[in-house]
Amino acid sequence: MDASETSALVRAAAGGDARAWDRLVQQYSGLVWAVIRTYRLASTEAFDVFQVTWLRLVEHLDRINNPERVGAWLATTARHEALRSLLSGRREIATDPADLDAAQPSVASPEMAVLRSERSELLWKAFGELPDQCRTLLAMLLASPPPSYADVAVALGMKIGSIGPTRGRCLDKLRELLTNQDVSAARSGAPVSSDDRRLAT
């Protein structure tokens, strides 16, 4: 969706056009959700943050300064509301594995399942240790449909030209965290061999 189409939709929705609104929701829900799910919120909080982000857009439709950048506006609002939700501490931050690990992808063989879930567990943990800006950037880039670089730049207060290099640095950092995790998993988490056991006792 190009910039003029986007601002036309925002203007139409501000004028009461529900179909235009539905298209905005369709276009940007993936982006809003991608931002929210980078925060460790329980499912109900994540749902509330998603909903309040859209409610805020409803109430600000005719006040948006740059309607063509509504994607950036939504991503910024979602991020802000997710942080507020964490800080308000109205409920515990998600520690229930069911909340964090909903719906694992189904895989063919049990061996594959173990490998994939181990790997995805490591990746998930490493991702959680990235700096806030890296998490949000990567999450935004992975949103479906993907946002424009211009929206990403505005939402994160970056120059468009620095998105590529920052993305590279964030992925390097992720790779580094994964490597460290693998090493520490080998030291402590992995099944102890008989040799190790003898040494330990």
Binding site: A18, A46, L55, D182
Partner: protein, 161 residues
Amino acid sequence: MTTDSDPQRDVSDETLLRELGSVLGARKPLPAEAVRAAKASFTWRTVEAELAQLTYDSADDRGGLAMIRGPAPARLLTFEADGLTIEAEVATVDGHRRLVCQLVPPQVAEVEVQHAETTVRTTADELGRFVVDGVPAGPVRLRCILASAPQRPVVTEWMPI
């Protein structure tokens, strides 16, 4: 899984990003219900009302303290519109929210607490006070029809409470 080598190092940015995408997507897929709710939120569009914006949220002050668990103190919210301030104290009672509110300057008003699932109506007394019990968790907003200016209601921003 072998841990002697570091296969991740060889993984290209594109592959790693794709892999991360599938992990994130699988962990928390976008609920269809959330999209339906977002579409439905358009019905809350108000054109004739004055928007009271959030100017204070005690949650913003707690910062690192949010990690300290104990009896949660009541949350304080302040909304401001032209000529009207709405102060709200939000407490949790049996899983529901209790709102203790004060209009400044004090005045009589018809008040609605709007929530996606329910709307509770009440009245602010001549001292501008009202209390609403049993509000479900989730985004809410207050809509006040002031006795002095009934033609232009004041509506707060939405807040998840």
